[in-house]
Symmetry: C2
Subunit: 199 residues, 2 copies
């Protein structure tokens, strides 16, 4: 079994970029949006559906208690998506060293002793700036609108994570290393993680 | 003005050892219990009193509202101690590069842009083990008693920090780097911080 590094991240904190650069530097496999295609192939769900709900809580789509039906949570489409995604993450983790972005991989692969990283930015302005720079289509948005969007994505991620795990998203003790990209540059964050896992 | 690294830490997480080794490796000044002597000299308070209350909240000793007296918070001995300690930390930070352990230095020196580290251990057993190893006099204690003691020190530190600052002790966003010594060895934690501040 290879080494697994999981990267959880606040939206706009640069976590995805850190994960990609880290995988390149270490010659590890990198799994982020790649997982969407794999889930689509295995589950038969549409690519767009998976992209939308692979990190969103089922509770946003269906109430847990559906009066007058016999539907159990496991029969809900989003629950099936999560089960398929979990199976794929477990299979991928068996194939060798890898970096996995989000998708509660830190929790799903807990028994495989992953090195769990959380990337955040202590200054909201840094996240807003990064989001504007990454998405040229967002130019029409105001600073306030972008901030609202960022917080909304974080809220979805937290809701998803907390719903499907017994942990709390973004709680320090769930992770082995938490890096603030308002104080640490992306390239330095990569070096820090490499230092950490080489021991 | 030199570079300031502040180390906040859970009790038994190895934070003090990391701070000392870090200061040695970087040839930075190291301030921990040294501060107690400086406060004693400046304030006239007894060494033991300062040791006991330099990281404890005044609210544990005196209520804020003391009926029937004209005593204001600033006149309370522990408040005077905190003011003296803050002055000393500010003076020390002017003298050159340094590592400071606890004493809400991250908050007091915020305008001087310190690099703020938080050391924790995700597994309580690691903290218990470290405390037993560090204090031979504790051998008579049970595992449960040691755990209770550890949580009590953490609680005091949090109460002290939250009382004298507008922040929350141990909240990720107050720090630039948070390291889990249940997953990262002490020597590696030192290397990680050096990597972080060299950028």
């Amino acid at each position: 079994m290879g080494k697994i590094i999981t990267i959880s991240r606040e939206f706009g904190s640069g976590g995805r970029e850190i994960g990609k650069r880290l995988a390149d530097a270490l010659s590890f496999a990198y799994y982020d949006k790649e997982i969407i295609n794999m889930v689509a192939e295995k589950s038969g769900f549409a690519h767009e559906y998976i992209e939308k709900y692979s990190e969103s809580a089922a509770s946003r789509q269906y109430p847990i208690h559906i009066a007058g039906t016999f539907m159990t949570p496991v029969q809900m489409p989003s629950e099936k998506l999560q089960i398929t995604q979990s199976q794929i993450l477990k299979e991928l983790s068996e194939t060798g060293d890898c970096v996995i972005i989000g998708r509660r991989a830190d929790y799903i692969l807990e028994t495989k002793n992953p090195f769990k990283v959380f990337i955040y930015a202590s200054h909201m302005d840094d996240r807003v700036e990064r989001c504007f720079a990454k998405d040229p289509a967002s130019k029409g948005k105001s600073h306030k609108e972008m901030e609202k969007n960022i917080l909304s994505v974080d809220k979805q991620r937290a809701k998803y994570y907390n719903y499907y795990t017994s942990h709390t998203w973004g709680k320090m003790h769930n992770y082995n290393l938490c890096i603030d990209t308002s104080a640490v540059e992306i390239k330095t964050a990569v070096e820090i993680i490499i230092t950490a896992i080489r021991g």
